[in-house]
Amino acid sequence: MSEPSKSPSKPTNRRVLAMMGGVAVLCALPCLLAGALTGRRWLVTAGVVAAATGAAWLLCARFAREEAMRPVHLRYLREFLPAMAGYLVLIMVSGTWVPRMESVAGRVALAVLPLLPIVLLIRAMVRVLRDQDELERRIDLEAIAIAAMSTAFGFFSFGLLPLADMGWHVRGDAVAIWVMPCLFAIFGIAKPLVARRYREHE
């Protein structure tokens, strides 16, 4: 068996999380500012989501250990970050140009454009799930199961509430667009809770 390599310059979990958190918060600021100045709600929403994600990553960095990131997770970051950056650019392009486009086909093409990097994002997630070690995979799968069931339960409940005719109506598209962010957010909350079950006085 070969000796484990000692390379202190390897990116660590803490540093990577802190960097990603910082970038997300920095991205949130112009979105919030532009949203406030132009009155575009989607920009404000994007800013709030980016700020919340960045804050969560910074919080995780605070508690993460200073240990080298495994190659499988470095590869995941190399795939995840460009896809996420592409998504952010395309959602801006889509949000800005869809209302100005005259042809229906053009509007449809622009509206679904941000889905392309989402497909790459899903591919990166499936690859990391497949290639990480067995305990990491078990934790992720448990967290995904919790997130999927909670999201389904939440949105199903939300779908039943209008039956009570409480006088408020929400547009279906406005609800549908929050399914994926909710799934990811609950996954992000569930994962450290699931991981705690396998941790003891490190």
């Binding site: 484990p4 080298a68 070690d133």
Partner: protein, 64 residues
């Protein structure tokens, strides 16, 4: 399931991170195995046994 992974790792003078790198798993996985929070799969158990040069049943036992 009980195991002697921590003692065997100590005999070699390896840290959890060293053992994790040799097994190509995360340090958290090594910690979870050592503390009995997680029972490894058969392939990983065989890998651990091969690394320490011992039969699998001398490292893992079903326990009480």
């Amino acid at each position: 399931m009980n195991n002697h992974v921590r003692e065997l790792r100590g005999e070699q003078g390896w840290s959890q991170a060293d053992l994790a790198e040799r097994l190509d798993v995360s340090r958290q996985t090594v910690n979870a195995i050592e503390t009995g929070k997680y029972d490894p799969s058969l392939p990983l158990a065989f890998k651990i046994a091969a690394l320490f040069g011992r039969p699998i049943e001398s490292i893992f036992d079903p326990g009480a």
